[in-house]
């Protein structure tokens, strides 16, 4: 029994040993093959990765170069190539989106920026670009929302300046779509937040003027003149706004200062001179109720003489045979009644002042309609009539 058991266990252990050796050899061989294959794959992988990186740099440099040379279409193609080799590089993505936008490929640019926006909805630049693109597409509310998100978004670098610029851009956009109240609100916020810088105030003045907010526009120009008293742009703009607002004396003052500061550009100088003369004459003829009575009475008497002459010439122009318009016929008894008005009485009677000023205005307005546009002092009086003397 024992002699038979020994060979069996010996055979068994011999067999197991053989199998163990064989399996060890198999796994050693497989390990070697794996290591060799790993080395080969790593070599292939590294070489291609480095090639990809260099291709990405090459194409992005080329794209930026094309952008700077005003070739956004080519730049977009190059930047797409750059991204295909460096898909996670956000810089390239932004550049591509900009290139698409500049190339007028609005839909694709919007898609691109929207995609960037999904990962970074608070990014100021992306929101600004989306605002610009939406405004191009006529998506008003969307554009406003993106602009606002850009204002409150994250900015790298000089955040306050960028936010102010975005707000001013939003104000321009709101102005362009005739939403003047909203534009004014944005400008007021920008003005309140802005540091006292001449350039910024000059820009704000222009934008306030564009929406018809003359007091704030004038205020902005005046801030410029505090820093730069001889700034020609500010002086001219302030003069014109003062003229527009009926403050002829102030307008005259701004124009005089501008002329004294020395205007080298002949055209500009000519324009300022003409505006100054107009301001001077308006100042001479203005008959605002805010003026002292004696001065107003003098100006009204001057205006009466000019308007009466205009009435008479217009009546003559129409001739005896022609059937005068009803408005002209209405003026006749009023002028007859005004024949006896004297300066002294006028100074003391506010009702008479109003009546005469009304006659002068009506005469110039009716005459301009019936007998054609006036010139000289009549034109000045017509302007006063049409402006309805805002100071009243």
């Amino acid at each position: 029994m024992s002699t038979k058991a020994k060979p069996r266990s010996s055979i068994l252990s011999q067999s197991a040993r053989k199998l163990f050796l064989r399996d060890t050899l198999v796994f050693a061989t497989l390990t070697c093959i794996t290591l060799v294959l790993y080395g080969f794959t790593l070599l292939l992988f590294r070489s291609f990765e480095s090639h990809r990186a260099s291709l990405a740099v090459y194409w992005s440099d080329r794209g930026q170069d094309e952008m700077s040379h005003g070739q956004p279409n080519q730049a977009a193609t190059s930047l797409r190539n750059a991204i295909s080799y460096a898909p996670d590089d956000r810089r390239y993505e932004l550049l591509l989106a900009q290139a698409l936008s500049e190339a007028g490929q609005t839909d694709q640019a919007i898609n691109y920026f929207l995609n960037l926006w999904e990962s970074q909805p608070g990014d100021g630049f992306i929101n600004l670009e989306l605002g610009r693109l939406s405004s191009k597409k006529g998506l008003t509310q969307q554009a406003i929302n993106y602009y606002r998100a850009a204002i409150f978004g994250d900015w790298q670098g000089d955040g306050p300046t960028r936010r102010r610029n975005v707000r001013l851009e939003l104000a321009d956009y709101l102005t362009s779509i005739h939403n003047l109240a909203a534009a004014r609100t944005e400008l007021l916020i920008a003005s309140g937040n802005a540091e006292n810088d001449a350039m910024i105030n000059l820009s704000l003045g222009g934008k306030f003027a564009a929406i018809g907010d003359i007091p704030n526009a004038l205020n902005s120009y005046k801030k410029v003149l505090v820093d730069k008293p001889h700034d020609l742009s500010a002086l001219e703009a302030a003069g014109r706004l003062s003229l527009q607002s009926g403050d002829y004396a102030a307008a005259h003052g701004f124009f005089v200062e501008a002329l004294e500061a020395g205007i080298e550009d002949a055209n500009l100088r000519g324009r300022v001179l003409a505006a100054n003369e107009e301001a001077e004459r308006l100042e001479d003829l203005a008959f605002s109720p805010n003026m002292p009575d004696y001065k107003r009475a003098e100006h009204l008497m001057m205006g009466k003489a000019i308007a009466e002459a205009r009435y008479n010439s217009c009546t003559m122009q129409l001739g005896e045979t022609a059937q005068p318009p009803v408005d002209m016929l209405d003026l006749k008894p009023r002028w007859r009644a005004a024949e006896n008005i004297r300066t002294r009485a006028l100074k003391e009677d506010d009702g008479l002042q109003e009546s005469l000023s009304s006659l002068i205005r009506d005469t110039e307005v009716v005459a301009s309609k019936v007998c054609g546009p006036p010139s000289g002092d009549d034109a000045i009086l017509l302007r006063l009539a049409e402006s309805r003397e805002p100071n009243q």
Binding site: L19, L30, T34, N81, Q108, N115
Partner: protein, 591 residues
């Protein structure tokens, strides 16, 4: 085989023969346990080596792509036509004379290896697939690397298992293990790869092989991620379901995807056999001609359709194409892939399918964004779901398609749109194209591989399907022989069989003759044995325990011994649900 690989006879004579026979007996005792251990360890090695090969394969494609198509393929570049045409000539010559088995995608070839050749895939085929598929895809043919990766993985598994000398049964199992590893590395998504292999290659869940498949797939993915990182082949954007009403748009995507997959399948189903039936000299020209035509699509405006197209999928996912462009890309990708694949050029269908799906998904997302801007989620979500939709409808792998999207996106909030769109697309595709595309190819090639779609849906008959109420007499085994004999139930004598309930809640089925023989042992109450229990006189064996939910086929072997089989209740021991007989079972199978 192990029986021949180890311990071959070295001596001569009777003593040696006895010792050899003894040794072989011992080895056959050791072999199953050894194979079991080897199986798992080899699965890991197969995964690692497959992963490395797939990474190398992808790198080869990338390098060839840059070298042959240039670093920035663009319309108007003549090389876009010249490169695939020249590559087509090389591929045709090598396929004809050196690597005749490399045609096709790789999925059917792996299935054929599994079901026809006992898991055999030659080393030459594996090398050929690596070289020619990388050349084809790198030169611009509209094909993908996943299916060839699957075959390369299966080839690795086959080669290693042959060299180690495993049994035939194990050899056959290794092919899907390698296939899962190859696909997992190519997708960088192990769960999808495992599911695809189970759904499309093996066709059934088998616990015996599942562990090894998981091991190899995970090993392959770990290796691949050493190189590529954990992110998938394309950057996944933020995915979400913005508004529940968006589900309508996803339903539309399902319809569009179903229609597109039908078009794709019809085009391939028509052109492939037409080209394969041409004379041999013509077949040699086909890859080159297909290369020129596919290159022409790139030359005249759409270079994005060339190659696998992952970069373009990435761009579409990130909303960088307008609606018209997306539709054009989807349409021309179908054309380019049909030409490339039908010409016999080796390469896969997965990437083109994902490409078309992504374009259609992004197109539906873009259209919705134009029509209902406030309801639309990200275009990336639609592109991602679109990929799953085409995968479900065209490749007919609905289960994998859902998990692929979930695994790739890593976001389960998208599961509802995915399931909705995939189901609609799958149903449309199934209704209008009953034969799945891979099965169609096997039929065109003259093979009859098992249809995984049918196999999945085959319902095995269960015991309950042949179950009948108990209509035979029941005797209690604990009753004495005398008692049993004295209280005769008239049915007992009339029935050909009786059921005897034993005290341990088991059952015995006795024929009329057997019972009569037992009862004839006593004639009077005071005879010895008359007070012994009936079950003491039965044979020691008992009727097998059978339950209603078991496969009906399990019962067949028992009818050799038992005329009927009692079917027990799983909850209450000893309680019968009914009986089944051979006649009832056969009748049920014949229905």
């Amino acid at each position: 085989m192990i029986e021949h690989g180890i311990g071959t006879p070295t001596g001569s004579g009777a003593q040696t023969s006895v010792a050899d026979a003894e040794l072989q007996g011992l080895e056959s005792n050791i072999a199953p346990a050894r194979e079991g251990r080897l199986f798992l360890l080899l699965s890991i090695f197969i995964g690692i080596i497959s992963g490395l090969l797939v990474v190398a394969f992808r790198m080869a494609i990338e390098w060839l792509s840059v070298l042959l198509q240039g670093s920035a393929p663009a319309p108007g570049q003549l090389r876009l036509m010249i490169a695939p045409a020249c590559a087509g000539i090389v591929i045709a010559v090598l396929t004809r004379y050196v690597f005749p088995e490399v045609r096709g995608s790789g999925v059917n070839q792996t299935k054929a290896a599994l079901y026809i050749h006992n898991g055999y895939i030659s080393f030459r085929t594996m090398v050929g697939k690596f070289l020619l598929a990388s050349l084809a895809i790198g030169s611009g043919f509209s094909l993908g690397p996943e299916d060839p990766s699957l075959q390369i993985g299966a080839g690795v598994a086959s080669t290693i298992s042959r060299r180690v000398g495993l049994s035939r049964e194990r050899l056959r199992l290794f092919a899907p293990i390698g296939a899962a590893a190859g696909l997992a590395a190519a997708f960088n998504a192990p769960i999808s790869a495992i599911l695809f292999v189970i759904e499309e290659v093996i066709g059934q869940w088998s616990a015996g092989v599942l562990g090894s498949i998981v091991l190899s797939a995970v090993s392959a993915v770990i290796v691949a991620r050493q190189f590529w990182g954990s992110q998938p082949m394309f950057r996944i954007p933020a995915v979400d379901l913005h508004d529940p009403r968006e589900l309508l748009a996803y339903a539309v995507l399902g319809v569009v995807g179903g229609a597109a997959s039908l078009l794709f399948a019809k085009a391939l189903g028509y052109l492939r056999p037409v080209l394969r039936n041409q004379p041999q000299w013509s077949q040699m020209m086909q890859p080159a001609l297909a290369g020129i035509l596919v290159g022409a699509i790139g030359y005249f405006g759409l270079p994005q359709v060339l190659g696998a197209g992952y970069g373009t999928i990435d761009l579409a996912m990130h909303g960088q194409f307008a609606l018209k462009m997306l539709l054009l890309l989807a349409l021309f990708k179908i054309v380019a892939t049909t030409l490339s694949f039908s010409s016999g050029t080796p390469g896969g269908m997965f990437a083109p399918t994902l490409f078309v799906g992504a374009m259609l998904g992004a197109a539906v997302g873009s259209a919705e964004r134009l029509l209902l801007p406030h309801l639309t989620g990200s275009i990336g979500s639609y592109a991602l779901v679109g990929m799953g939709v085409l995968f479900a409808a065209f490749l007919r792998a609905p289960f994998t398609s859902v998990f692929m999207v979930l695994e790739v996106s890593g976001n389960y909030s998208i599961i509802l749109p995915v399931i909705l769109a995939n189901t609609i697309a799958y149903l449309i595709s199934r209704s209008l194209q009953p034969v799945p595309i891979f099965e169609l190819f096997t039929h065109q090639d003259g093979l009859y591989l098992p249809s995984m779609e049918e196999q999945r849906e085959e319902s095995d008959l269960r015991v309950e399907d042949a179950l009948q109420p108990v209509d035979v007499p029941i005797l209690r085994g604990a009753d004495t022989l005398w008692y049993t004999k004295q209280t005769p139930d008239p049915r007992v004598l009339a029935s050909p069989v009786v059921l005897i309930e034993c005290t341990d809640s088991t059952w015995y089925v006795a024929s009329r003759d057997e019972l009569a023989q037992i009862l004839s042992k006593i004639q009077a109450e005071n005879e010895p044995g008359a007070d012994s229990s009936l079950q003491d006189h039965l044979s020691v064996e008992r009727a097998p325990l059978i339950f209603p939910d078991q496969p009906l086929s399990n019962a067949l072997s028992h009818f050799r011994r038992w005329p009927i089989l009692p079917v027990s209740n799983r909850a209450k021991r000893g309680v019968l649900e009914g009986t089944i007989s051979m006649e009832q079972v056969l009748k049920r199978y014949q229905q």
